[in-house]
């Protein structure tokens, strides 16, 4: 039976599927027992203006957001409530839409990094990485080993900073305000390292097609070791403050449950999918960079609830630190950008020595480099799930089309299913545990 099957639609409109259906069927339900509120704005307004509404009808349509402190930016949820219970809901997105995918068509591949890095602003290096990998696929170039390892190091640190931010906001949404301060505090330490390496705290434009913008700064090993020494005891504190805390457990366990079939039917990835017990991590299952050369575990949950999603992220910070430790040992020496004169500008000294180098320098910075016709898709495991960049090139120096598979955007559609028949107060916990970044949702 498929979604478009008329018999199925009729049956579910009548609410005839019963409660004992399992797996993906629940996701496909339509009508009043569906988790998703399928009403247009106009229809909602009509209901609101109808003077003949049944007085006994306790159902209320409630808008949560777009500027609600617990909706992580500008997510708007339309909730159909009965008392405090959420019956159906509909996430409304688009409030942060700035046309970044369209903007990418105006920018050369060299400039593109400054644009894509602004999508998922909590983990900007991942979008840069996916964009660079896709461009490199089209160009058919191989980046030097050191660039690969620097990318891996920076991305794992970025995963840590992103999950630390989650710890902070998750704590804040559930009333653990001190946790918010602690999470930001640790994230700040990671951002300080980024600032040293890239010059910026976010929106780095550091990973770019062909390699990375700059080599690691002098003394970077000491800074990374400082981070690796500083964060584990802080995570222990989080464990006492939250993981083992009965209040925290009661608040999260059993809230917002999703099973693996549902998660797959909704294309959820990242911690949401892994919380259901389905071990899917692109770093392991479709290795990119040099992830096959490092040792790490994929963290999975078993209940698919908010608590699992919290615990997975907390432990992923630890796994990332394990990877970073190995990178410290294995960082190779050598070039950090591909030495292809058509893609990488010449070293500065060459500009004064060689006319050819000067011409390359001018061409690359004004016109950009031409990318062969074709299409490519590259995906990476961002802290939020599978982050993919699909590029179509028409042979010029700007993409013909760029599409980003933003994990936040796709994970947002799990929200109605997580919230169905839960309390509105749990809705806050659920939004928080999905951890959407609205910049990436709306692009």
């Amino acid at each position: 039976m498929t979604l478009t099957d008329p018999e199925h639609l009729e049956q579910s409109e009548a609410g005839g599927l019963g409660d004992n259906i399992d797996g993906a069927e629940r996701v496909k339900r339509r009508g009043s027992d569906s988790a998703v509120l399928r009403l247009s704005e106009a229809e909602c307004a009509e209901i609101g203006n109808d003077p003949n509404t049944d007085a006994d009808d306790e159902r209320v349509l409630l808008n949560m957001g777009p500027s609600h402190p617990s909706t992580h930016g500008v997510l708007r949820l339309m909730l159909e409530m009965e008392g405090e219970t959420v019956l159906r809901s509909k996430p409304v997105v688009g409030y942060l839409h700035t046309g970044m995918e369209k903007q990418a068509e105006q920018l050369t591949y060299l400039q593109g990094g400054t644009n894509v890095t602004r999508m998922d602003y909590a983990s900007p290096l991942f979008t840069e990485l996916a964009f660079s990998l896709a461009t490199e696929k089209l160009l058919g170039i191989e980046v030097p080993e050191r660039a690969t390892w620097i990318r891996m190091l920076m991305c794992e640190l970025n995963r840590m900073s992103s999950h630390l931010l989650f710890m902070a906001t998750n704590g804040m949404d559930l009333g653990a305000v001190s946790m918010m301060i602690y999470g930001w505090r640790e994230r700040e330490e990671v951002l300080r390292f980024f600032e040293k390496v890239t010059g910026l705290r976010m929106n780095h434009n550091y990973i770019r097609p062909g390699g990375v913008a700059a080599d690691m700064p002098d003394g970077w090993e000491a800074d990374v070791e400082h981070l690796l020494a500083l964060i584990p005891p802080r995570l222990e504190e989080y464990d006492i403050l939250m993981t083992g805390q009965p209040i925290w457990r009661e608040r999260l366990q059993g809230v917002g449950v999703l099973n693996a079939d549902e998660a797959l039917a909704l294309s959820a990835t990242g911690p949401i999918l892994r919380s259901t017990g389905y071990a899917w991590d692109l770093r392991r299952d479709e290795p990119y960079l040099a992830y096959s050369a490092v040792d790490f575990d994929v963290i999975v949950g078993s209940y698919g609830d908010c608590y699992d999603r919290y615990a997975i992220r907390l432990n992923e910070i630890r796994e990332s630190m394990r990877i970073v430790e190995q990178i410290l040992d294995k960082m190779p020496a050598g070039d950090y950008r591909v030495q292809d004169k058509k893609v990488t500008p010449p070293p500065r000294v060459r500009i004064d020595q060689s006319m050819e180098a000067l011409i390359h320098h001018f061409k690359i910075f004004t016109e950009g480099y031409k990318v062969p016709e074709g299409e490519a898709y590259a995906c990476v495991e961002s802290p939020r799930g599978e982050l993919g960049v699909y590029l179509v090139s028409d042979g010029t120096s700007t993409p013909y089309r760029m599409h980003v598979r933003g994990p936040s955007f796709i994970n947002v559609q799990t929200m109605p299913h997580l919230m169905q028949n839960g309390l509105i107060a749990d809705g806050v916990a659920i939004i928080s545990s999905v951890d959407p970044i609205m910049g990436e949702v709306d692009r």
Binding site: A147, E195, T198, G199, A214, I240, V338, P346, S354
Partner: protein
């Protein structure tokens, strides 16, 4: 049944923080009353801030008006027009100089691509990032504000919050001096001196294999290799 002590252990974590060092500092945004502490943390060498237009040690401007910075800017915030130098009183060495140079800070995203693109290291970035305006026109910095003063120091506008050391490393210097991924060029100086600072030292990087000292990697050899 939860261990009742678990509740208390959580409180102990926050309580202990009372006796730990503060991680935040005293910051009053340059508006501190006499004697009140107003600290900012030092910024790393590679930090991106407000731009400056550098000059050579003899006072000549480095900008040659080539418009590469304007061409590469993804935010299109730079406007440059070049003009021919007056042979009797040149502004920059060579034929051309930057006649008009404007940066609109309402658009600038501080990505430093202009710094990477500049062939003469004329434009670099200072460490200053706190400046605000009360109207749109003030956000457009012209050559009057951007070119360094006669001591080679960035001009400090009254609405900017400069601190000790912010003008010391006036650049995303690592971008301006990039070895473009070729590790053999790390740690070697290949840029001109600068008014007020002289020739800046490079980052060490992986400079064990630097081209200027190592016999096997003589500049001439690298050159012929690269031109091949």
């Amino acid at each position: 049944m939860a261990d009742p002590l678990d509740y208390l252990r959580g409180f102990a974590v926050t309580f202990k923080k009372l006796f730990e060092d503060r991680v935040t500092g005293d910051y009053r945004g340059g508006k501190a009353k006499e004697g009140a502490p107003d600290n900012k943390r030092p910024k790393p060498e590679r930090f991106h801030g407000r731009h400056v237009l550098n000059r050579y040690e003899d006072g000549m401007e480095k900008c040659i008006g080539c418009e590469l910075c304007a061409g590469v800017c993804p935010a299109k915030c730079i406007y440059v027009r070049g003009a021919d130098n007056d042979p009797d009183d040149p502004t920059s060495p060579g034929e051309r100089f930057g006649y008009v140079y404007e940066i609109n800070y309402l658009r600038c995203i501080h990505c430093d691509l202009c710094v990477e693109a500049c062939p003469t290291q004329a434009i670099t970035e200072s460490k200053l990032f706190e400046f605000s305006f009360t109207n749109r026109n003030d956000a457009i910095y012209t050559k009057n504000e951007l070119v360094v003063d006669d001591d080679g120091m960035p001009q400090k506008m009254p609405w900017e919050d400069w601190r000790e050391g912010d003008d010391q490393l006036t650049s995303g210097w690592m971008r301006a001096t990039s070895s473009a991924g070729d590790h053999r060029y790390e740690g070697s100086v290949h840029w001109a001196g600068e008014l007020g600072y002289g020739v800046r030292a490079p980052e060490v990087g992986q400079s064990a294999g630097t081209i200027s000292t190592d016999g096997g990697n003589s500049p001439a050899e690298v050159r012929s290799e690269n031109d091949g």
